[in-house]
């Protein structure tokens, strides 16, 4: 897979009063991700070619992928494939890059979601709804010690679009 062929479809930038190392740890450990990522546990083998998984609170696989870039605490690129039957086959892989840069006494975290083919806005609406919630909660967790309680269901327009493509969702 050539990650250079992927084009950004969603970019979200947030500034956090924390060190780069704390932000990196929040993005890569289950203990912290459970608190800000809807209860999901991030597990990652931090080397290029390592596995990346996100497990739902019941332990089932929610997102699977592979590490493509790993430069702690600056840059992490993984495939971020939601484990729904036929999703990757129909839409191709989803790539997510986190970039962490110092900005004064804070850091700038930029999340970029990319795809290797054109993807309908209805399908992209899932990530566009989810990322601001996840990363707003991550910021609150690191700055206040408490994450946000954000409940949300996947957008109906995304579920409808997936159904039209024959992709089953839970």
């Amino acid at each position: 897979m050539d990650i250079a062929s992927f084009k950004p479809t969603t970019v979200y930038t947030i500034y956090i009063a924390a060190t780069s190392e704390r932000v990196w740890r929040a993005l890569t450990t289950a203990e912290l991700s459970r608190q800000y990522f809807f209860g999901n546990a991030v597990e990652i083998d931090l080397k290029v070619g390592g596995t990346f998984t996100v497990r739902a609170p019941d332990g089932s696989l929610h997102i699977g992928g592979e590490v493509f870039e790993c430069d702690p605490p600056r840059r992490l690129t993984v495939t971020f494939n939601v484990d729904w039957p036929a999703l990757v086959e129909k839409l191709g892989p989803t790539l997510v890059t986190y970039e962490i840069e110092p900005a004064g006494n804070a850091v700038r975290l930029t999340m970029t979601e990319s795809h290797d083919r054109p993807i309908d806005d209805d399908i992209l609406s899932g990530g566009r709804q989810g990322w601001p919630a996840i990363l707003s909660s991550l910021k609150s967790l690191l700055e206040t010690g408490e994450p946000l309680t954000i409940k949300m269901a996947p957008p109906q327009r995304m579920l409808d679009a997936l159904k039209r493509l024959g992709i089953q969702t839970p």
């Binding site: 947030i14 956090i16 009063a17 900005a103 707003s136 206040t144």
Partner: protein
């Protein structure tokens, strides 16, 4: 092709009323908005200005909508030579209660095709709104210098 616009959503542990004050009160904006005070009488059609700490005006436009604590909209363009000839673009803030939180959605639109102002605000808003969230949740704004926000550090 998508129209040129910038959309930003964030969730803040606060009330709609406090967020409204933070978005409209110059004493408050000065603390998280790179020292900028917003100046307006907030009547639809009135002038809207961003005033630097030295008293100079950095950006100017007009108030479009003022419906506390739900919807705020104003146009503005930066007055520096970089954006010469570009029209004021419309920034609309929508504040919605979300459980015990508040969801803030900013939509900034109406940019000139091929202009530079969209790129400028796309770099600025995440820093400004992150600082706003920090100030409301922790009582402290972020310490991010203007140059770092622009990626020029």
């Amino acid at each position: 092709m998508r129209k040129p616009e910038f959309i930003y959503v964030t969730y803040i542990e606060t009330t709609p009323e406090k967020l409204w004050e933070a978005l409209t009160d110059g004493d408050f904006t000065e603390r998280y908005w790179f020292g900028v005070r917003l100046r307006s009488d907030w009547k639809a059609g009135s002038s809207f200005e961003m005033v630097r700490s030295d008293g100079s005006v950095s950006d100017a436009g007009k108030v479009v909508e003022y419906d506390p604590p739900r919807r705020l909209a104003y146009t503005f363009v930066n007055l520096s030579a970089t954006y010469k000839g570009e029209p004021p673009a419309l920034a609309t803030f929508v504040i919605e209660p979300y459980g015990k939180l508040v969801k803030l959605t900013l939509t900034h639109e109406g940019f000139a095709e091929g202009g530079k102002f969209l790129d400028g605000v796309s770099k600025g808003w995440p820093a400004i709104l992150s600082g706003l969230k920090s100030l409301l949740e922790t009582g402290r704004p972020l310490d991010v210098p203007y140059a770092a926000m622009k990626g020029e550090s």
